[in-house]
Amino acid sequence: MTELDHIRNFSIVAHIDHGKSTLADRLIQMTGTVADREMKEQLLDSMDIERERGITIKANTVRIEYPAKDGETYVLNLIDTPGHVDFGYEVSRSMQAVEGSLLVVDATQGVEAQTLANVYQAIEADHEIVPVLNKIDLPAADMERVAEQIEDVIGIDATDAIQISAKTGVGIPDVLEAIVTRLPAPGGDRDAPLKVMLVDSYYDAYLGVVVLIRVVDGVIKKGDRIKMLKTGGTYSIDRLGVFRPEMTDIAELGPGEIGFFTASIKQVRDTRVGDTITHEKKGTTEALPGFKPSQPVVFCGLFPVDNAEFEDLRDAIEKLALNDASFSYEMETSAALGFGFRCGFLGLLHLEVIRDRIEREYNIELITTAPSVIYHVYMRDGTMIELHNPADMPDPSLIDHIEEPRIKATILVPDEYLGDVLKLCQDRRGIQEDLTYAGSRAMVVYDLPLNEVVFDFYDRLKSVTKGYASFDYQLTGYREDNLVKMQILVNDEPVDALSMMVHRDRAEARGRAMCEKLKDLIPRHMFKIPIQAAIGGRIIARETLAALRKDVTAKCYGGDATRKRKLLDKQKAGKKKMRQFGKVDIPQEAFISALKMDG
């Protein structure tokens, strides 16, 4: 166990690509925590998918021992967090578990929306914040301007900002010293009843559930009987340890310390981020503040392209759910798509990560239906229904009103693209709340409906700003609006997988865009196909897909009999990837592509 005044706990706050992972690597390397020869890049990012997308999904911790200039050796605990909006709650928990943050800003880029969102979380958690200007090795680095920006936009003193290059290693010793001298030591009482915060947990095939913890008060030891306050689960600690970054056993963890334990917990679902852990006997009854169960906000249907793979899909989803308590699922049947699952996610990135993992790790091709948020449908009889799936929309004559979730979106954008960004937000039913300037960049804050953002808002933002804008959001609450269910009819048959909730004023435009898209996405058939959008029984948009006019192989000789046969078999296999709606085959890509809006 380490004395409190020899412990420093911190996290690193940064916009994506500003160098958080690289800095973490350098800190680990310079303190000899990992031998140089074992050093591989981005030690804390573990899964493939994270590496590819450049994001860290789960909170990770590492314990570093650092001999400081004052001759003492300190234990530094770094918690690395996802930093993505989808995982905002996880980030806030991790922030609660440490006392300080390094605010890393790329000196060639300056402050971005994610920097802001995350630094506000750090400020809210009462952190001491040390600004760090990274990438000073690059000629485009402008330390003065960026320091000024940190002061203007964030409002923290940047006179003592540390200038570093995480790539070359310049300035890293200063960072280590600053962690010791500028960040506070944790508090806590080792004689008080045990109070431990559950920071995160993950599933390991060999160890079962591994729980990341921060001890607030008391001492936790191997063999202890413990209890989780929210879930009520009781366990005994099998293994207690710290990450260096590999798992290293330790006899006990006292106040201020960060580590992990295993306790024969079967599934991640049994552990709740933010829960309080104490001793089963003589434990505390006082929970740590701020616990909230994680709630999915975006829902969609996942169906196997090949109906025969339904059981495999069930298996994959169940396995993934073991390691991800924030993801919900229930079986869904669709007339057109067969058996599948209605799944709930923390956000769109979360959805994509899970979907990609199913496709890649379990080799199941999926059809993803239109993502939907949760609507609150207030009925005439005074009851309220949480609507996750437009297909379940009650009879409109029974509905009093519908509320939808709203967000507060913060966007930072260079001046020249401001007009396009404002137009985009306005088009998506946004209400401007704030517009300020920081140098040549504007910061806009919008109140937006979440349903206008879940699908492709971020893609559109990137494209209208050539990638120069940054974006973050927070859920703010529910508000009533004029929302209706729009159905798409292909050859006069409703396609439930394409129905969606839209604002009444936007329904025509949206319906027209969908019909036009589908006209391009559905291959021509031997007859002409009407494609319509409808609200209730009323058609609001219509396109006609012309009949196929030419499908003939020009040359066909002796050798082509074999070739044509192969082609036929290939087409038959291709047809499996289509879904039949009446007499019409709709390719699976259509379900996602049709929803992407161009404006």
Partner: protein, 380 residues
């Protein structure tokens, strides 16, 4: 077995060309030097091997295809023809076709090719103006091509030429003019192919990278196809197969063997064959790579890379795939009824894509441009 002997043809593949055309996915290769006297015995070996397993077949056609068989020495062509005549019984009016590229070199050979036994040529004119020929990467000019067509018509009783349409930048009006000119020069037979962008060709690559501009869209190419039928019908050369047109009696009998499910032995690199032996239909395939084929024949006396017996299902599907391409369709007894989706069949007839009567099953004029879709539905 005393069943009827199917019509039987011999396909001889000559895999060499002077240059590779950017649209072509035939098994064609450009070699610096081909010693034809060394290649001749390989073909002779294959003829012997094939004839030994088809002793009762009566040879009705020989087709030299390529590649560019007009680059073959006439004496090599002659020895192959002689060997075939010696190996099988032959019909009195043996049709012997050779594909020719229309450069002056080849046109000059027509007379000796005729002396070698060839009685029909099919000439790759491809386009009727020099800009278009350049876009197709052809080595000849249109002047040379017409000279070759004239020479062929002088030397041979039967000749045909090929055009490729629905090319880059070609309009419907362009095609009308081109085809009218072609019809005025045709001697009873024309092959008119819409340009197909094939994977693995230079055009295929360019197309995928978006670098093959000016191709007609589906509607325009459908209009071109309809116009082709209209003009050829009016000129007395109706389509007897999707892309082949002839005055009555001038149809290419060799190709009809493919489409009507007859037998053919295929020799030469990459050649395919279909042979009925002891009541079973066998599909054969030769080594694709010319050097590989040569080695196989030299060392094993056999250029075949694969051969398998077709199941009755395979035979049925092939009969439909090939047979519906022909104007007269398939006789009822060759239609694989057990594999045909009855609902689709009825629906296709009801909607005017298919016609059926006592003589068999065939496409209507409306069905012909979408024959692939019709077949897909029939077999779904």
């Amino acid at each position: 077995m005393a069943t009827e002997t199917p019509a039987f043809g011999l396909y001889v593949h000559w895999p060499f060309c002077a240059a590779k055309c950017p649209y072509c996915d035939f098994n064609s290769h450009v070699w610096a030097k081909v010693d034809q006297d060394q290649w001749l015995p390989l073909y002779l070996t294959e003829i012997k091997r094939e004839s030994e397993r088809t002793p009762d077949h009566v040879l009705k056609t020989i087709f030299f295809g390529g590649g560019t068989p007009s680059l073959m020495q006439p004496d090599v062509v002659q020895k192959i023809i002689e060997a075939a005549r010696g190996a099988w019984r032959t019909s009195n009016d043996l049709e012997i076709t050779l594909e020719a590229n229309p450069t002056s070199v080849e046109a000059a050979k027509f007379r000796s090719l005729k002396d070698a036994g060839v009685n029909r040529v099919s000439i790759g004119v491809q386009a009727t103006n020099n800009e278009a020929l350049k876009l197709l990467g052809r080595l000849h000019t249109i002047e040379e091509a017409w000279a070759a067509v004239d020479a062929a018509q002088l030397v041979f009783d039967r000749s045909s030429f090929d055009l490729i349409y629905a090319r880059q930048y070609q309009t419907l009006t362009d095609w009308r003019e081109e085809l009218s000119l072609a019809l005025s020069r045709a001697a009873g037979h024309l092959s008119l192919y819409q340009l197909t962008i094939e994977d693995g060709t230079a055009f295929g690559d360019r197309y995928r990278r978006g670098r093959l501009p000016g191709l007609p869209d589906e509607d325009t190419s459908a209009d071109m196809f309809l116009l082709t039928q209209e003009l050829c019908d009016a000129a007395g050369l109706p389509a007897y197969e999707v892309s082949n047109h002839a005055t009555p009696g001038n149809e290419a009998r060799h190709n009809l063997i493919y489409w009507q499910g007859g037998d053919y032995a295929g020799i030469g690199p990459g050649a395919h064959g279909r042979l009925t032996i002891n009541g079973k239909r066998i599909a054969t395939e030769a080594y694709l790579d010319p050097a590989g084929w040569r080695n196989a024949v030299l060392t094993h006396g056999n250029g075949e890379s694969a051969s398998r017996t077709l199941s009755s299902e395979d035979v049925g599907v092939e009969a439909l795939l090939m047979g519906l391409r022909v104007r007269d369709g398939l006789p009822d007894r060759r239609v694989p009824w057990d594999q045909i989706n009855e609902n689709e069949h009825n629906d296709l007839i009801l909607n005017g894509f298919l016609e059926r009567d006592a003589t068999g099953l065939r496409l209507s004029d409306q069905g012909r441009p979408v024959v692939n879709a019709v077949i897909n539905r029939l077999l779904s």
